[in-house]
Amino acid sequence: MIEFRSVTKQFPDGTTAVDNVSLVFPSRKTTVLVGSSGSGKTTMLRMINRMVDPTSGSIEIDGERVSTLDPVKLRRSIGYVMQNSGLLPHRTVVDNIATVPVLRGIKKKEARQRSLRLMDTVGLERALAERYPGQLSGGQQQRVGVARGLAADPNILLMDEPFGAVDPIVRAELQTELVRLQRELDKTIVFVTHDIDEAFLIGDQIVIFRPGGIVAQIGSPADILANPVDAFVASFVGVDRGKRSLHLEGTPETPVVVDSEGRVAGVLAAGSNPLLIAEAVPQPGAGAPAQGAAT
């Protein structure tokens, strides 16, 4: 469990990136920090592994204050996946993945063996092991980034807009695979994104930030869709635009789900009974899967 207690971060130039945030990241769950750029979400993430130190307040991992831990040791114990993968361009894929285990003193040969197995886990062909990052596609690079983040088998995985720089098709693929991976691995994931749909797909807990590093709302995707606390959140998640108020059209035999602008959002999954939910439109919480089906 990671706990933020009244954490504030002010940068030397006077901007407040994070403003008095208290927050709990439950263990083995995915918490998504979401907000527009400049809302302090990346700073939040970077304070967990001490890439940034807070101006005031405290951060604890399983009851231990991170400020008392050695930053280098702390970072080696936490997985980190960043936008544009951040791979070392002069090292091969397998050596990139093995970076942290080797830093922690594991023999190179053993670390490379483990790297190869991790390549299987994240869906990379072993044939790519000796390639350099510059020879891979953006999606492959991100997979290497995820494998590297998992290499030291950390309890915590920090992901900073990891899928921000790949095209929408590859992004959707990577997102579903992350959800699958998380079911297998059960890590405590902190995921930063500005894409609310990505947040709803991946997150167990969503934290919405307002500009200026202030938390607007914390809750499950269903909570937030059903009860947005204010107009800002409603607009951010798209409830106010009717994007998420879905209703059924067509005949009872062949129903389709349509959004408020008349755009077809998807179809009902096989076996679901339209009569049971037809009256319940808009069905909050059902928004996320239907949205996912439309993209």
């Binding site: 970077r46 592994n49 890439m51 280098v72 040791k73 702390l74 970072r75 080696r76 114990s77 980190y80 960043m82 544009n84 951040g86 791979l87 070392l88 361009p89 002069h90 090292r91 091969t92 970076t99 942290v100 830093l103 350099y132 990052p133 510059g134 020879q135 590297r148």
Partner: protein
């Protein structure tokens, strides 16, 4: 044309390949002086340049001091130092080290600065210490530019050591300074041509070295190759500016 033929005749004369004034001896001396200069200048400029590039601190100082050093006329400096420390090797050595420091320093810090900030940030986030970031990431990725600085310094040193023959020292300048009073133009011209040839060979060797030290991933990567090229041309432009500055000053 006669002078040119006479020059080639001089260069081919077997008599000029024997004794203490033999061509290979003089070339050897020039190379030896140059290597000594590069070694001393590197000992001073490489750590300083790497420190500036790694920490990002002291950059103003790192730019200004070499700018001042560049403004010193080397020939004048040699004579001044000779008056101060005597007629030995020390006076021209100091002057040439001063000449060689700026390009090595610039190559080192601009090399480190050319490394993608995101890559350095990622290395730190993985848990590398400052030294590990320097040795495992920053230096390997900027080795080509660091070598470029050495290349520029070597070129200037190998050419400029010629003037040290104004003192009773060896090197290829010997031919020029000895031939000047007796107006032996073929010998002067031969000395100049040897300096030019040696400079070209030096440059070619360093160009090869630069290729060898470029990490394979940076060469292989399409995207990163483009990036490396642009940063390269930046740094090379800087080095060229610096070189032409030296030429103008001379």
């Amino acid at each position: 044309m006669n002078q040119l033929f006479a020059t080639f005749a001089w260069l081919l004369d077997p008599a000029h390949y024997a004794g203490p004034d033999a061509i290979q001896v003089r070339v050897g001396e020039q190379v030896e002086y140059t290597l000594l200069t590069l070694l001393l200048a590197s000992i001073i400029a490489l750590p300083a340049g790497l420190a500036i590039g790694h920490t990002g601190r002291g950059r103003t100082l790192g730019v200004q001091i070499p700018a001042v050093l560049r403004a010193l006329p080397t020939l004048g400096l040699v004579i001044l130092l000779a008056l101060m420390v005597g007629l030995g090797l020390l006076a021209p050595l100091i002057a040439l080290v001063i000449l060689a420091i700026p390009p090595i320093l610039a190559g080192a810090y601009s090399g480190l600065e050319s490394v993608d900030r995101e890559t350095v940030d990622a290395a730190r986030a993985l848990g590398m210490t400052g030294w590990q970031v320097l040795w495992k990431v920053e230096i390997p990725l900027s080795l080509s530019l660091i070598t470029g600085g050495l290349r520029s310094a070597a070129l200037q040193a190998v050419a400029t050591w010629t003037i040290a023959a104004i003192l009773p020292l060896g090197g290829l300048g010997r031919y020029i300074f000895d031939a000047l009073p007796v107006q032996d133009y073929p010998k002067m011209l031969a000395g100049s041509m040897l300096v030019i040839a040696l400079a070209l060979v030096t440059d070619a060797l360093f160009a090869l070295l630069q290729k060898v030290v470029t990490p394979p991933g940076v060469r292989a990567g399409r995207a990163s190759l483009v990036r490396a090229k642009t940063t390269h041309s930046h740094a090379r432009a800087a080095l060229f500016r610096h070189a032409s500055f030296i030429r103008n000053e001379r």
